[in-house]
């Protein structure tokens, strides 16, 4: 459960302060699949950094599962990221010379889990992300783009987070592969009940979700339920 109350973010520049977020408020419940959509410069990346506990707001309150994390220290934020958040990046950010399994298990290393247990959990996550088992021993730079992104999704899943934050996850993929990755997200949401927040600038990508929050110039301009997709999704099941 995410609750944002009047969140602002301003950066100090030479000429004074530049406001990137100007009072953003919304609630995302567990199990929702939401897109935050806006053009570049709208403040959606800054919002994602705050939601992902990579940054703290200048003012306002951000409650993650009821805990106010808007005023935590760097190390406390690292703990939040370790336990509650899974990231999927546009450029995958896998360790190139490490195997798929090691990449996926990496977050659990910082959580202090034993190696055998880590690998067990990594295998489950890879299964959920839909990467064929014969790829698990490969080095991550031997995979195709779509496979890499599914490894990254497995890595985001492995610590059983409250939210999965995906920042333009299809930006580096062709349409067909992007479709597969988005399907993976839909399945994780509909079958496993994961909360997924997808940040994108493309309407087409956002339409795969159940709710679209529009952001422009640091303010929420629209919050629409994507009923069409929900029905389509329902038919699939």
């Amino acid at each position: 459960m995410i609750e944002c109350k009047n969140i602002t973010k301003a950066y100090k520049t030479g000429a004074g302060e530049t406001a990137v977020l100007k009072g953003v408020s919304f609630v995302i419940a567990d199990g929702e699949f939401v897109a935050i959509m806006g053009p570049s410069g709208s403040g959606k990346s800054t919002l994602m950094h705050i939601l992902g506990a990579l940054d703290v707001p200048t003012s306002g309150i951000y409650l993650l599962d009821g805990q106010d994390i808007s005023k935590l220290s760097d190390d406390q934020l690292a703990d939040i990221r370790k336990n509650k958040i899974g990231f999927v990046f546009q450029s995958f950010n896998l360790l190139p010379r490490a195997t798929v399994l090691r990449n996926v298990a990496l977050p659990l290393m910082y959580a202090g889990m034993k190696k055998e247990q880590r690998e067990e959990r990594a295998k489950q996550a890879l299964m959920a992300a839909g990467l064929p088992e014969d790829r698990w021993g490969h080095l991550s730079n031997q995979l195709s783009g779509g496979q890499m992104q599914r490894v990254a999704i497995a890595r985001a899943l492995v610590n059983d987070p409250s939210i999965i934050l995906a920042d333009e996850p299809t930006g580096n993929l062709d349409t067909k592969t992007g479709e597969i990755v988005l399907d993976t997200f839909q399945q994780l949401n509909s079958q496993h009940g994961r909360m997924i927040v997808l940040i994108t600038h493309e309407r087409y990508v956002a339409e795969h979700t159940n709710r679209i929050i529009h952001i422009r110039d640091g303010e929420i301009t629209d919050d629409e339920k994507n009923i069409k997709h929900r029905i389509a999704n329902h038919h699939q099941l």
Binding site: D55, D79, K82, N83, F87, F89, N93, L106, Y110
Partner: protein, 407 residues
């Protein structure tokens, strides 16, 4: 993140760039290796100098003539030139000083020696039968100068092994042969055992003759060049030195000790001063080698800074998935410590091999001491920490958002 994980991460990071890791380690290997080799050379020469001084004899005092300077005269004839020591001084010391064990006077000078078509130039020492005991000289074959030889001014000679080799050839028994010292015939009656040593202080390149014979036929004077005195034990050395000094001062009618025409030298003083010279030498050698160690350390810092820059995105990712500052800095610190540690281990072996090579090909004594190994390992660990600290801190301080965007 436990220790095993950190080591796994470290090894995979170092192995992913083998050439660069290898060259960086090489810098440390050369540094540590040369420190150990240089210290071993220094230590070895200290040890060999000390042992050659010890072989002069133990608990030894040496009385030698000092400046010869008349009352009111400003001109000094130089140290050792004075003809002030006489047989009577020897007798008086023997009679009045209780702490002495044995005493041997010596009159030495260099002469040309001729034997059956070969010749050499070496020291000829006129002395008494006590000399072998006092100076720790042993007889290999034949006999040393006897009391009878001294009393009857016998023209007999005992050769050092090097002199024997020079005059008669190696392994030849020279006993009974005749040699000419300063155109006087001497009969060879013995050869001393090899003691080692080289150069001016070669204990093996000498000829011993009776003191009386040397005074009468070679020097033509009754003065002595040195009196060697063996003292009963180590503790009495200083007391004996003081007693002998005051006895000789009163015998020579000198009231001001600063004007003494002789000097009494304690063997321990020589050992101490030579040791201090050679330990200065050791420090100098080690310092020169230490510079290469520092250069190696800078190599590590350089590599780690490059690595941190190259892996900025990786650091960003690790932070995004929950790594704390401490986890990141520890990982990079362990990487640089690992580089110096591997370099240190290989360097110890290299240093050891170098020191053997120096001993084998350079015919120098070397000695690898355990403290030099501890020093080298300690220094290399410190270098890893010091030169790895800044890059590790830089990595840990990266902002995850900016690091993830880094191209």
């Amino acid at each position: 993140m436990n220790i095993a994980d950190i080591f796994r991460e470290t090894f995979s990071a170092l192995l992913s760039n083998k050439a660069r890791s290898g060259l960086t380690i090489l810098g440390i290997v050369i540094g540590i290796g040369s420190v150990i080799a240089m210290i071993s050379v220094g230590q070895g020469s200290t040890a060999s100098i000390q042992s050659s001084i010890q072989s002069l004899g133990s608990n030894l005092l040496m009385v030698s003539p000092s400046f010869q300077r008349g009352v009111g005269m400003q001109v000094s004839a130089g140290r050792g030139s004075a003809r002030t020591l006489k047989q009577e001084d020897v007798d008086a010391i023997q009679k009045e000083i209780m702490l002495i064990k044995a005493i041997a006077p010596e009159l030495s000078s260099r002469y040309q020696i001729i034997a059956k078509g070969t010749n050499t130039n070496t020291s000829v020492l006129g002395t008494t039968p006590n000399y072998p005991e006092v100076r720790n000289v042993q007889i290999e074959s034949g006999s040393f100068v006897s009391e009878q030889n001294v009393r009857s001014l016998s023209k007999v000679a005992v050769l050092g092994p090097t002199t024997r080799d020079d005059l008669f050839g190696e392994g030849v028994n020279p006993i009974g042969q005749t040699i000419h010292i300063n155109k006087v015939d001497f009969k060879v009656i013995g050869v001393t055992k090899e003691k080692g040593g080289s150069g001016m202080s070669n204990q093996d390149d000498m000829i011993f003759v009776p003191l009386s014979t040397a005074q009468r036929f070679l020097a033509g004077s009754s003065y002595l060049s040195t009196i060697y005195i063996e003292i009963v034990d180590q503790e009495s050395m200083t007391t004996a030195q003081e007693q002998i000094t005051s006895l000789l001062l009163s015998r020579h009618n000198i009231s001001n000790p600063e004007l003494a025409d002789f000097s009494v030298i304690n063997q321990a003083d020589i050992v101490a001063s030579v040791s201090s010279i050679s330990s200065t030498l050791t420090i100098l050698l080690a310092a020169i080698a230490g510079i290469s160690l520092i250069v190696g350390g800078i190599g590590i810092m350089n590599m780690m800074l490059t690595t941190v820059t190259e892996r900025t995105r990786e650091i960003g990712l690790r932070k995004a998935i929950g790594a704390k500052k401490k986890d990141i800095s520890l990982q990079f610190l362990i990487e640089s410590i690992m580089l110096t540690f591997i370099g240190g281990i290989v360097g110890i072996f290299l240093g050891w091999i170098l020191s053997y090579a120096v001993a084998y090909f350079g015919s120098m004594t070397t000695e690898v001491t355990s403290w030099s190994i501890f020093l080298a390992v300690g220094v290399s660990a410190c270098i890893g920490i010091i030169f790895g600290f800044y890059p590790a801190r830089r990595a840990a301080g990266l902002n995850p958002i900016e690091a993830l965007r880094y191209e």
